[in-house]
Every structure is written in C-alpha cells, then in structure tokens.
C-alpha cells in the first residue's frame, strides 16, 4: 500500500485495473495530487517589482499591479522548460535562467488603468470565468469627515470617484466602466462587491444602496436594479408618475437631519416633523419583524405588550441599521448583513451587534432575519456552509474547496474548537462574522484540499495572531498585540475558522515566520510531502523584523508563488515553488 501511494507509476497501473466506486472517480483522480506536489523551491527569483494579486481561477492569468498603483500587468503562467545533455538530469541544478521570473511567466500586456488622481485598488479583483472578463477598481483618496449630504449616511467616509473597469483578459481591452461619485464602496478584499454568474452586486455604504448590475456577454454593464430607497426597479418611476398633483417633494431623502430636529425642538410646542419615509428595504425589514412578532401571539393584550417591548422600543435601532455587506445565495436571493454605522466602517466589526437577512430581490420579500448570535443560523452555517459559498459552476475543481460542510477533517476541527470554546454565544458570533462571504476569496488549489493534505496545524502564538487578524479582515500591520497569550480565548477559538494557521486557501497576507510550512499527507502514510518556505533560503538577516507573506497558488498546477515583504520598504522576496 505504501509503495502504491508514493509511486505515481504504480498508481497509474492501479487506475488501469481498478474501477473506483461509482461517483468517486474525480476524487480518485485528485489523489494524484498527493504525488505531484510543488516540492522544489527556487529562492529569490529575479522578478519585476509589482504587487502580485492572484491567479485567475481558471489558471490562465496572473494578475499584478505596478508599484505606483497605476498599471495593470497580466502574465500567462507557463512551465519552465530546459534541456540537459547528460543522462541523469535530476542530479543537475536547474540552469541559471530558472531564477528568472520570465522563465515561468510571459507578460501579455501592461496597460494604464487610471486617469487623473485615481489609483488602482490592489486588494480588489474579480474574475468572470465564463467570459474571461476581469473586474478591476480604481479610486481617488478617501475623505473621512465627509459631510452627509443628499441622503448619505453620517459617519461613512466618501470617495470622490470610484471606477469599476471591465476588461477582456485576453488582450486587456477595457470594455466598459461604471463610475460611482462621492460614494463609498468597501473594496478591501472584494468586500463590497459580489459577482455571481453574470450578476454583480455593489454595495454603496454611503447611500445604502445595493446596485445590481448584469455583465453582458458583449462586455457591457447593464443596470438591473438598485435596492435600498426602493425595492423594485420601477418604483421610483411609478412614484413620480403618480405624483402629478401630489407635488412630491424630494426632501424625504434627507431623513437624518429632520429627525434630530424633532427631538431638539420638542419643547417648543410645535415639533417640526421630518417628512421621512422608511426606505424600501427598511419597510420590508420592519414589516417582516413586525409580522413575526404579531403572529407569535394570539392574545391581543399580550401581543401588544410583546410588540411594545420587542418592536417599538427598538424601532429606532432597526431604522438606524445600515447595510454592511451582501452576497448572492442564488440568482434571486441576497444575504444581507445589517449593522450599526460604526461597525460598517471600522475594521473590527465583530464587536458590534449585527443581523443577517435573506432577501428575495424578485418578490422584494425578506425571507428570514437573524441576529448574528442566533444558534439557529449557526446550525445552518455548520451543516450547510457550502450553500453560502457560491462559486463559478463551470470549473469542476471549484467544488473542491474544503469547508466544514464538505470535509470531515475541517468539521472535526470546527467541532473541537466549539467544544473548547468557553463562551458559546461568543463562538457563534465569531463564526457568523464571516457571513456574508467575500467573493472569490478562496483558492481552489488542491494543496488546500483537506482530504488530501493537512498543513502545519501546530497552534503557536504566531498562529493566534494570524487568526486574530484574519477575523478582523485586516492586514497584518494593524495587529499589534502582545505575544504570549497563545490561548487567549476568543482569538484562539477561531483558529480553525478557515483552516487557518500559517497558510490557508483564503487569500490574505499573513505574518510569516522563518519556519517552512509543512504539507502532510492526510491519508496513510501521513508523511511530510512538501514544504513551502517564503523568504530567502537562509532565513532573513534580521529575525525580528516583522514580515508579511502572501501565497499565490495556481488553481490546479503544482505551482505556487510566495511573496515575503518586510515592513520597511525593502524589496520583497519572491520564491517559486513547483514540481521539478
């Protein structure tokens, strides 16, 4: 058995003579990845000084941006080719040109993406696999103390101009643009934008609107609807056409200001009431909550008490909720997270109360509504986690991204953390903090398939850090916290959240150590199969300098890039890991 597993030729013979159990042939084929691993490392590759974003999910392109955040450079990955004259090639070192980046990648094009004072948002990139379109974003700087005008939410920063560029990846031609002015879309890690098939949801935090766009095969954005102030695409038109004789005023958009006005001027006997209608989505949400409470109780007297305590008392809190984040569940349903203004902008969102709602955008109904500490929602998340992960359906290997709902090992990890958690409601909150999921944030690389490999799951103080910043969805720079509380409850509780430790399928920058990351076979013989070591081969000169690593795995080839950066503007170190 040992022999078969470690020898690829034996495996191929095996495949010839044995038929795998029905329905498992793909799983069997994927086991070949146990033999084909990126175990060879070329250290400190001479590479162009770009910031590398990711491989597209079909493996066709490597996307990178220039250091000045103005140009997009796209490469086609290709395999290193070299010849050798002697008989036993394996003993030879690789030729010198193996240390060159362009031996592995061909530059397809380099195009300027920005105009005027915009910069590329290097954390943002979405790939539409079916049409080979790429979606990029450029923006001007954030203005933090922007006044809330024209219906904007107070406390949300403003960006003068955000442009989404739709590109044909093949030749870099810009097909269409969509511009948002004086608005705020959270572009970090694709948080504010979600792509599902050809549908794109963009959350304007500032104007509390979910813009649904369709990307046509022709490469155009088509506006489908805007959910927020109104629910149906023609609501506004309907209202305006019916308003003849009603001289409808547009003042109702400024709902924040008159509201406060009321309270300040109450004592003057004649309160000045703002003409503030609830927005379309809020009306739906409040109706849903109201109906739930109304139907729970049949006795009139008890019902009104219940409503008073649970609904009217909190009415303003519900009205003040803002849309934080959105994902598609299918073509009709959105999972919307609501929370307070503070939590929407701050990086550390999990301390704020939050709610998630499932909204059907065709019927304009709220289907369900949960607080982020609801056990029921957690159970759904644990059992049916994959329903929240919607990915491209064209590529079969996208179905193999490990999660606790499709992988017994990930589930075991989750359960063991759940058992260890001191505070169950805190645990539930932490887990549900990842909903709605960010779009295209996980690598489909088979080396992250937990049924094939496990990676370094030693829980070290370092790991705690990584987890901590992972949960906050932020970059390593902000996570200054004293080492030495490796088991500080809340942080450690989430260690397994998404496989996490030193490396995971979720694309993030991670603080790195000088230790290589080990990939160990999940199945017998459970041996160490390969190591990924970012940074220079000999380790860094200054062991104390804080280093951030990112790993870009090719979606299906045994090929990965590791990029290590030290914080003090030194050039980064790029290693290439591949199967020699």
């Amino acid at each position: 058995m040992y022999y078969r597993r470690s020898n690829i030729a034996a495996r191929i013979f095996d495949r010839q003579i044995c038929t795998p159990a029905p329905g498992t042939s793909v799983h069997h084929a994927r086991r070949f990845y146990e033999n084909l691993v990126p175990s060879y490392t070329v250290y400190e590759v001479e590479f162009p000084d770009h910031s590398f974003r990711k491989f597209t999910d079909d493996g066709q392109y490597l996307v990178s941006f220039s250091r000045n955040h103005q140009e997009l450079i796209v490469y086609r990955p290709r395999w290193l080719s070299f010849s050798c004259n002697d008989e036993d090639c394996d003993k030879h070192d690789l030729p010198a040109k193996a240390r060159r980046f362009d031996s592995f990648f061909t530059q397809l094009y380099c195009i300027p993406l920005v105009s005027c004072n915009e910069l590329i948002c290097k954390d943002f990139f979405l790939y539409m696999e079916s049409n080979k379109f790429g979606l990029f974003a450029t923006s001007t700087a954030q203005i933090h103390d922007a006044p809330a005008v024209g219906g904007a939410v107070q406390g949300v920063p403003s960006i003068e101009k955000i442009t989404f560029h739709l590109l044909r990846m093949e030749d870099g031609e810009i097909l269409d643009k969509k511009i948002f002015s004086n608005d705020f879309v959270n572009l970090t890690h694709n948080m504010g934008v979600f792509l599902y098939d050809d549908l794109l949801a963009i959350v304007s935090l500032r104007y509390q609107t979910i813009h649904i766009l369709q990307i046509r095969d022709s490469g155009n954005f088509v506006h489908v609807r805007a959910i927020g102030e109104f629910c149906r695409e023609d609501d506004e038109l309907f209202l305006n056409s019916n308003a003849q004789g009603m001289q409808l005023s547009n003042k109702n958009k400024q709902h924040q200001v008159p509201e406060n006005h009321v309270e300040n001027h109450m004592h003057q006997g004649q309160p000045n009431v703002g003409n503030s209608f609830l927005s379309g989505i809020k009306q739906r949400l409040l109706s849903f909550i109201f109906q739930g409470l109304w139907n729970e109780e049949t006795d009139d007297t008890l019902r009104i008490q219940r409503l008073r305590n649970k609904f009217y008392f909190h009415f303003q809190d519900y009205v003040d909720l803002i849309i934080w984040k959105v994902q598609f569940l299918d073509r009709h349903h959105l999972l919307i997270k609501f929370g307070s203004v503070d939590g929407g902008v701050s990086r550390n969102a999990d301390h704020h109360p939050a709610f998630v709602a499932v909204y059907n955008m065709d019927t304009t109904e709220i289907v369900s509504f949960y607080q982020n500490s609801a056990d029921e929602l957690y159970l759904l998340f644990e059992k049916f986690g994959d329903h929240f992960h919607v990915t491209s359906r064209n590529l079969m290997y996208m179905n193999f991204i490990s999660s606790h709902s499709n992988n017994i090992h990930a589930l075991e990890q989750l359960r063991s953390i759940k058992d260890k958690a001191s505070n169950s409601s805190q645990f539930v909150k932490k887990m549900l903090a990842s909903l709605p999921f960010s779009c295209q944030s996980q690598s489909p690389s088979p080396y992250f398939d937990q049924s094939l490999f496990r990676f370094d799951d030693k829980v070290t103080p370092h790991a705690c850090f990584l987890v901590y910043f992972h949960c906050n969805d932020q970059m390593g720079l902000a996570m200054e916290k004293p080492i030495g509380h490796p088991l500080e409850t809340d942080h450690i509780n989430v260690v397994c959240l998404l496989l996490l430790e030193l490396i995971s399928a979720t694309d993030r920058h991670r603080q790195s150590t000088d230790h290589p990351i080990k990939f160990i076979l999940r199945n017998s013989p459970h041996t160490l199969k390969f190591k990924i070591k970012p940074g220079p081969e000999a380790g860094s000169m200054d062991g104390r300098a804080k280093k951030i690593s990112s790993f870009l795995f090719h979606p299906f080839l045994p090929f990965a890039l590791s990029i290590q950066q030290t914080l003090f503007l030194q050039p980064s170190v790029v290693n290439i890991h591949f199967r020699r």
Binding site: C231, K251, M266, F277, L278, D300, R308, F313, Q316, D317
Partner: protein
C-alpha cells in the same frame, strides 16, 4: 400651556415641569388603556424610552393588506394640543399629505382633550376605509376617488404592494 387651545407658546421655550409631567402621566395612562383594550388591527408603543414619541402600526387595511408604520409625536402640552401623526410608510390617500402627515379634523381644530391615542388610531384606521375627499390634503387623489373609484382603488393597491409590504 394653561388652558387648551392657547397653549402653543414658542416664545417661552421652558415649559413648566409640572405641565410636562402632567402630560407624561396622561400619556402613560393612555398607554395602559391601549394595552388593556387594543383596537383591532392597530398597535402602538413608545419608541425607545421617549414617552412623547410613539410608533404605531396599522395592518390589514382595504389597501391590499399592507403594514403601515406611523410616527406619533405628542406635544409637551398634550392633551391640550393634538398629537402629530405621520405615515412612515408611503401611502396613496387623499387625507395624507405628500410628506406623510395625516390631515384630519380631529388632529387640527377638531381636537378635544377628551380624545385619546386609541381613538386617534381608530380614526386613522377609519379614514383608510373611508377617505374624506371633501377635506382632502391631496386634491388630485380626492378627485380621482370621487370620479373613478375603481381606478383610485387600483392605484392605492399598487402603492401598497410596492411600498407597504
């Protein structure tokens, strides 16, 4: 503040505390009354801990069902002055101003301190069933109501489906 009707005193910004607490007591009493004997299809309660600012809900109207939320704001000299009733949910109705404010006799000159919040809610609910086109806030809707009732009802139902579900 001393007697009904004449109490609108924007000149004296400091209302006597006794008066505030008297109105507070009155509102509290009305809340108990509303709780003990809630009118059908209506409910209401203070928003947060502010006794002078309530939210009310009216459901099951002839307007194709719909759930309508209303702001009810009590003046400090309540019950000598009427409360203000404002729709937070868009509605197509000839007695509701375009900004949502309910325009009804009893909320203006016809107000009497003997009226209570329960009665106000019942009155609002009854104008949803029977609009008063002769004292309309929106003449256009009133004309349609009188001229082509069926069309008026269709439009009203469409508004409910769009804005009050």
């Amino acid at each position: 503040m001393i007697s009904g009707g004449g109490g609108r005193s924007s000149s004296s910004s400091w209302a006597p505390t006794t008066s505030v607490s008297a109105s507070g007591k009155r509102i509290q009493r009305e809340m108990v009354e509303l709780n003990n004997d809630p009118p059908p299809h209506c409910s209401a309660g203070p928003k947060g801990d502010n006794l002078y600012h309530w939210i009310a809900t009216i459901i099951g109207t002839p307007y194709q069902g719909g759930i309508f939320f209303l702001d009810i704001i009590f003046p400090t000299d309540y019950p000598f002055m009427p409360p203000q009733v404002v729709f937070k949910t868009r509605i197509y109705h000839c007695n509701v101003e375009p900004n949502g404010r309910v325009s009804m006799g009893i909320l203006k000159d016809g107000w009497s301190p003997a009226l209570t919040i329960t009665k106000v809610l019942l009155a609002v609910r009854s104008i949803l069933t029977n609009p008063d086109p002769y004292n309309a806030a929106v003449p256009g809707i009133a004309h349609l109501y009188l001229g082509d009732r069926a069309k008026h009802d269709d439009i009203a139902a469409e508004w409910t489906v769009r804005f009050a579900k």
